[in-house]
């Protein structure tokens, strides 16, 4: 047995590093009250930045994709302009409000033509053509382009801000958390799959789901627990929680146990697509911040609604789109390294299926908790020391709403 086989169990005492956050039970009102949700919309959600895709989706000038910001009801059109810049617009034709581009992705020779009456907009959003223009009563084309939405790129991720005049820049919103995670090889995971589901619960509950692993030995006894929480860590403790402004990161600890038979095939023949320990040399300071040899995964959380589960070989973007005080849309996009051979393709599928099923285990709790909240049957939450990320989220929301 080498030293790696008997690591120290992480200690209690993380919360004590952040005395301003407190240790008492917290009021659950922010998880269900409609009036609080309305305040959150103005004070938190409208003022944040939202990741909507990757620059690789629009590699060449004229490439485009469309998407939405479900929280705000916005339809968005993103394209690569002739000068190489990324442009983002409200995908709303200025004639009568149909989407200017109806396809989900593609390449435009230079014009987006609305499929209602045929108005056309160029890659800068300028209105170029009105069909049967002489029948209109003096439309000023120069003033009728697509409305821009504030847009920025960080590490190849495209972000937009719903505010007309953003109260903080993308860099300000990312803060130290963005700076300290910037040099991870984000662009190497060229392959992704994505799924979504609606969940009848508050957006913060969806955030909470991966934000603590205290539950892993109990909720995931046969799935995640054997590989993530083996011998040394039966209580599911974290290596560390690192708080930076409104953002935070959980570092996960793991001792690799004996994998299940199909996992073993995947690990051996397609290790690149797996969440395995090690390989984290030369990472930026915000990833495996404690530089532990037992590190496997970081959950890098950008307040309010974006987080990344990140390991040496892959990462997953979790996005929660609040739809109301007790309704959310969850979107998960898993990024993996490209497979060259058919054997490696099997490794990707193993990762995808396992991860999806583990999340199904996680999400079993959400609507049950929300019913308890909505019916007034759970008025306080008591957080474990290693549920600090949840306590911090509660602290940040409460602080912003009190301001």
């Amino acid at each position: 047995m080498n030293e790696m086989a008997t690591p120290p169990v992480p200690d209690i005492g993380i919360t004590a590093h952040y005395p301003e956050i407190g240790t008492g039970p917290v009021d659950t009102a922010i998880y269900h009250e409609p009036a609080i949700y309305a305040k959150e919309m103005d004070a938190i959600l409208r003022r944040s930045w939202y990741m909507i895709g990757r620059v690789e989706q629009i590699a060449r000038a004229g490439d485009f994709f469309t998407t939405d910001l479900p929280t705000f009801g916005y339809e968005i059109l993103v394209c690569r302009a002739r000068d190489g810049k990324v442009n983002a617009f409200h995908n709303v034709c200025t004639h009568r409000g149909n989407v200017a581009e109806h396809r989900s992705e593609g390449h435009s020779a230079g014009l987006f033509t609305c499929r209602f009456h045929g108005w056309s907009f160029d890659l800068e959003g300028d209105l170029k053509r009105i069909r049967d223009e002489e029948g209109f009563f003096g439309c000023d084309k120069a003033k009728m382009g697509l409305r821009r939405i504030a847009c920025g790129v960080w590490q190849g991720f495209i972000f937009v801000c719903p505010e007309e005049e953003p109260s903080q820049t993308l860099e300000e919103w990312l803060g130290e958390q963005g700076a300290d995670t910037a040099d991870y090889p984000w662009s190497q995971c060229t392959q992704s799959y994505q799924w979504e589901c609606e969940i009848a619960c508050n957006w913060k509950l969806v955030n909470d789901s991966p934000a603590e692993v205290h539950h892993i030995p109990v909720l995931h006894p046969n799935s995640a627990a054997p590989t993530m929480m083996a011998s040394g860590n039966p209580m599911g403790r974290l290596l560390d929680v690192r708080i930076r402004g409104n953002h935070r990161t959980n570092s996960h600890y793991s001792v690799q146990a004996e994998p299940k038979p199909v996992q073993k095939l995947a690990y051996f023949h397609a290790s690149a697509a797996q969440n395995v320990a090690g390989g984290a040399r030369g990472y930026p300071p915000g990833i495996n911040a404690t530089r532990s040899p037992f590190w496997t995964v970081d959950l890098i959380m950008f307040f309010p609604t974006l987080s990344f589960t990140l390991s040496a070989g892959m990462y997953t973007a979790h996005q929660v789109w609040p739809l109301g005080p007790n309704r959310s849309l969850y979107r998960q996009r898993v990024f993996v390294k490209p497979a060259g051979t058919a054997a490696e393709r099997f490794g990707q599928e193993n990762t995808m299926v396992e991860f999806r099923d583990v999340v199904m285990e996680d999400f079993s709790t959400l609507e049950r908790i929300q019913r308890a909240l909505d019916s007034g049957q759970i008025r306080e939450f008591h957080y474990h020391d290693h549920e600090l990320a949840l306590r911090h989220q509660h602290h940040v929301v409460t602080r912003i709403l009190a301001a």
Binding site: T190, C197, V336, G340, R345, M352, V353, D357, M360, F363
Partner: protein
């Protein structure tokens, strides 16, 4: 006398009986196939595939995505189905996630192709 085109590469004829039901076009249909199958059928497939997994992957590692012949593509898709079936057999003893959120509520928005070549960083997608 003409021979039917082989369904699987040479040496894997023992798995051909699984091709009609367990070769599925994508991850969504694999998920649906698992959910719609009794656990006994999932076990029968798993028990036959698992001991052949090493040999199958040793074969597939010599075949590049984007250039798969029909028999190799079928063999890969059997392995992708094995990945979908594995948690049902190894974790739950049931097609469904134990006490889980209903997987029917999951909508796939984007998938990785089963057989197409995959771009590496810096290459056009």
């Amino acid at each position: 006398m003409s021979m039917a085109a082989p369904l699987l590469p040479e040496g894997f004829a023992d798995l051909e009986r699984f091709v009609p039901d367990w070769v599925q076009p994508d991850a969504v249909t694999r998920m649906a196939t698992r959910q719609a199958s009794p656990i006994a059928a999932l076990r029968e497939f798993y028990d036959a595939m698992l001991p052949r997994g090493e040999a199958v992957l040793a074969h597939l590692r010599h075949h590049q995505l984007g250039a798969l012949a029909g028999p190799e593509e079928n063999l890969l898709r059997l392995m992708l189905m094995l990945a979908e079936v594995a948690p049902a057999v190894e974790w739950y003893g049931d097609p469904r996630v134990y006490d889980g959120f209903p997987v029917e509520r999951v909508r796939y928005l984007r998938q990785i192709s089963d057989s197409a070549a995959q771009a590496f960083a810096g290459e056009p997608a």
